[in-house]
């Protein structure tokens, strides 16, 4: 049990997918203007990363390894993730229109989110078993969400500040992201 807990903490804080591994930066800048949208995006990401890493793990274990085709991993993952996201979209639209309305707009954006692919690959590289894969993916996604929401909160406050002209917009966003990453690096000593 402690092992899973450690895995969780390391994935959320120490090896934060956004701030320590720098994956998934486009939604980090793109949908972080408002906390509410950031929250929606975060939920969608948790959902998709957890499910897709389950499938990618299985595809490696039962398809690519037996056929000795590990080198096709990346390209196969892309296909699987894209299919999955599409399917999830179709599925929730039918089953829960309300859920679709909250997550719907973000799903197509996630198809091309490198964090999703990144988490799947990390799972395989670290040679996790199924349970570890599940916990790690979920935790990494939560870490993504945490960073995104924190960042959106900061950017919301920026909107009220008197920012020098050259720094407005993306430039300040990137500087802030850097500082936030620096702060997160303090967690390094935790484990």
């Amino acid at each position: 049990m402690t092992e899973y807990l450690l895995l969780f903490i390391s994935a959320v804080f120490v090896n934060n997918i956004l701030l320590a591994q720098f994956l998934g930066n486009c939604p980090f800048i793109g949908v972080s203007n408002k906390v509410s949208t950031a929250l929606g995006m975060a939920m969608a990401v948790v959902f998709v990363i957890t499910i897709s890493s389950m499938f990618t793990w299985m595809s490696v274990k039962y398809l690519l390894i037996p056929l000795e085709l590990e080198y096709l991993q990346t390209i196969a993952f892309i296909l699987i993730i894209a299919t999955l996201v599409q399917f999830v979209e179709i599925f929730i639209q039918k089953v829960s229109p309300t859920l679709f309305r909250t997550l719907g707009i973000y799903l197509p954006l996630i198809t091309t989110n490198c964090a999703v692919l990144g988490v799947s690959i990390i799972n395989i590289r670290n040679e996790y078993d199924f349970m570890h894969t599940l916990v790690h993916s979920f935790s990494a996604a939560v870490g993504f969400g945490l960073a995104l929401v924190l960042f959106a909160g900061i950017r919301e406050r920026h909107a009220l500040c008197d920012i020098p002209k050259p720094l407005r917009g993306t430039s300040l966003a990137l500087i802030t992201a850097g500082l936030l990453a620096l702060t997160f690096s303090a967690f390094k000593g935790l484990l």
């Binding site: 080198y71 196969a76 296909l79 699987i80 179709i90 009220l160 008197d162």
Partner: protein, 688 residues
């Protein structure tokens, strides 16, 4: 080598085919039924999926339009061209679709506003609003730091010299970004359709006059428009809340003038004569200035009674695209405006033009059709989507005196006035006595003078100060020659051979019980006067017999309705005007008509028709002018409304008052302080 490439390609191909097949099957299994219109509409939209419309992509926007949640002009990027294509798909007329425009709810820049403190913090309204709501005394004051200006992506806003945002109407595409960005809700999208359905709220900046007007007309705006010479804008503004400006400009008791802020310092603005000026401008132009009609909705509404309340309701429902039919028992429409109020106050030709405006809005009026005789409420509820009842107060109250029913020379006020309205000119004797102190009594008395009666007496049981009739009416009547007998109540009509000779009356005194003084008889003090005609005008009430027990009534025998929505106990049936209030005024009937139209529209759309959270049922208390400011006097006093010669007044039914001329109107309009809740213009001095 070749082999392994082939295997890799094969496997990848297989995964691809499998994925495609899987998605294909899933798409079939989880298919949701879509209105083909949605696809067609999606084609018609730009397809940029930009989200500027507020929906998640074009597909969602198309869905919203089909479900009626959005208008065909939803796509901001595509503009008019796209709207036209979308309208074609939906089969509606796009030309009638009106785009709202951002409108500022605060008119007072740094020079005019009362300041609480000098805000020097971050130059952003949202930050300023966190500091005690900003630097202005008024809670609804614009902070003027231009957050909305920065929020606008289309360059439609800029900060003006006085520190208030200025809207460039041509550039505004109604995206609502400014509205969403303003922390105080001061800048809002506004359109004719939104304004005619608007009910005043306590969180808005309202002028004292505007908040007191039962019809909630934007008085400062129409007065400003007159001062600027834009009479078209003036009449448009009035008609957004009152389709009877010619009538109200002549007969309204104008409570607004009593509330006017300038009235606290010198004399109130002649608000009502200015309304009449704007209304007469339209009539003399001989051109109908009407709001855009929304595209047809296919809903049908029946209105019963063609008085001001019924016709107002019909007018605004028609403006919102519904099909309205008015049923009227009398041979001509207009209600009490035609059969009550005499020609010397409201000529029938003027009334005809005004009703013509309601018909031009698309309302159909069917006369000679009475509810309870030719049609029934059940039948109307069956055939129409909603019903609005405005059958007025036409039942005269009896005097309950001895001999009341015995002589042909005794009649009720409204019966007398109805005869006059139909063009009859009854012969009166020399001694005409009117009983009552309200508008009807005054109209009967002044009409009797015009019919040539030598002596016209008016008997009222209280004193002059308590008369419900408008003060200027009472004064005008006296000037024309009415003789008042106050503190007198009739007790017996005496006659010989079926012909009325005299009236015995009881002298009264007033007892103070707090509130309105109560008349009590002075024991034994009984007077006697010679009478040839006796007209009883002591009040009217609604006649509910046509409805039986179908609608709930109040203890005053009026229809019971919900405040602000006019709904009765029957879901589909609404009621207003005198029918729900008892004898009231034209402008209150107009208010009910518009409230009813708003509620019916929402009801038919299946939306919440409750009044807004901060609904202003009564005008708020105004605190007067706050410290440091002083109302500047004007060079000219309040205009005198011109009247015709006295000799002509008492011998004919010609209209007594004359419309202001252009110069008078402009001069009077310039006196207006352009008030808000706290701030106003035309002052000297600033915060110390």
């Amino acid at each position: 080598m070749l082999m392994s490439i082939a295997i890799a390609a094969g496997i990848m191909g297989a995964i691809g085919v499998f994925s495609a097949a899987f998605l294909g099957v899933a798409g079939k299994v989880f298919a949701i039924v879509r209105d083909p219109k949605v696809d067609e509409l999606e084609e018609a939209l730009v397809g940029a999926n930009c989200g500027a419309c507020g929906y998640s992509g074009c597909a969602a926007a198309a869905q919203a339009v089909v479900e009626g949640r959005a208008k065909v002009n939803v796509c901001l990027l595509g503009g008019a061209e796209t709207a036209e294509r979308a309208a074609e798909v939906m089969g509606v007329d796009v030309t009638a679709e009106e785009t709202p425009v951002a409108t500022l709810g605060c008119n007072y820049g740094v020079d005019n506003a009362h300041l609480l403190f000098d805000y020097r913090g971050i130059k952003d309204c949202r930050a300023a609003a966190m500091v005690l709501g900003g630097g202005k005394v008024c809670a609804m004051g614009c902070l003027g730091l231009g957050t909305c200006v920065r929020a606008c992506n289309f360059g439609a806003l800029r900060l003006g010299d006085n520190g208030l945002p200025v809207v460039d109407k041509d550039k505004c595409i109604a995206c609502g970004a400014c509205e969403a960005s303003c922390p105080k809700g001061i800048i809002k999208l506004s359109s004719t359709q939104l304004r005619i359905a608007h009910q005043q709220e306590s969180t808005e900046c309202l002028a004292p006059c505007e908040a007191t007007c039962p019809a909630q007309i934007d008085i400062p705006l129409y007065i400003r428009s007159i001062a600027e010479g834009d009479y078209r804008q003036a009449i448009t503004t009035i008609k957004e809340h009152n389709p009877f400006p010619l009538v109200c400009g002549r007969v309204c008791p104008h409570p607004c003038e009593a509330a006017c802020r300038r009235g606290d310092h010198d004399e109130p603005i002649a608000i009502n004569p200015l309304k009449r000026f704007a209304a007469d401008y339209e009539m003399n132009l001989n051109e109908r200035i009407l709001p855009n009609r929304a595209p047809s909705t296919g809903k049908k509404i029946a209105v019963v009674g063609s008085g001001p309340s019924g016709l107002t309701c019909a007018y605004y429902l028609s403006a919102r695209g519904h099909e309205v039919k008015v049923f009227e028992a009398m041979p001509k429409p207009g209600g009490m405006l035609r059969y009550g109020i005499p020609d010397y106050r409201l000529p029938q030709s003027v009334l005809d033009w005004e009703i013509g405006g309601v018909e031009a809005m698309g309302v159909e009026i069917q006369c000679n059709t009475a509810l309870g005789k030719d049609i029934s409420l059940e039948q109307l509820e069956e055939e129409y989507d909603a019903v609005y009842l405005a059958m007025g107060a036409w039942k005269s109250r009896a005097m309950r005196i001895e001999g009341e029913d015995d002589y042909p020379e005794i009649e009720s006020g409204i019966a007398f006035l109805e005869k006059l309205a139909k063009g009859e000119r009854p012969e009166l004797g020399d001694e005409v006595v009117i009983v009552g102190g309200g508008n009807t009594a005054m109209d009967c008395a002044r009409s009797s003078l015009r019919l040539g009666a030598a002596n016209v007496y008016l008997l009222y049981r209280r004193s002059r100060a308590e008369m419900p009739a408008a003060v200027h009416e009472v004064n005008d009547g006296e000037f024309e020659g009415i003789q008042y007998h106050f503190l007198s109540a009739p007790i017996r009509a005496v006659g010989t051979d079926n012909s009325l000779r005299s009236l015995e009356f009881q002298r009264m005194r007033l007892e103070d019980h707090g509130g309105r003084p109560k008349p009590v008889p002075i024991e034994g003090d009984i007077g006697n006067m010679k009478v040839t005609n006796l007209i009883a005008a002591i009040g009217q009430g609604p006649d509910l017999t046509a409805l039986g027990t179908m609608v709930d009534a109040t203890k005053w025998e009026t229809v019971l309705t919900e405040i602000g929505t006019c709904q009765t106990n029957r879901e589909k049936t609404f009621a207003g005007g005198d029918f729900a209030r008892g004898g009231a005024t034209v402008v209150e009937g107009v208010r009910d008509g518009r409230d009813g139209a708003r509620a019916i529209h929402l009801f038919l759309n299946g939306e919440d028709m409750n009044v807004p959270e901060n609904y202003l049922a009564k005008p708020p208390k105004f605190t007067g002018v706050k410290g440091g400011f002083e109302v500047l006097p004007t060079d000219t006093p309040r205009v005198e409304v011109p009247v015709i010669e006295k000799s002509e007044r008492v011998s004919t039914f010609a209209e007594v008052e004359i419309t202001l001329n252009e110069e008078q109107a402009k001069q009077e309009a310039a006196r207006c302080l352009q008030c808000g809740e706290v701030c106003f213009k035309g002052h000297r001095g600033k915060r110390s």
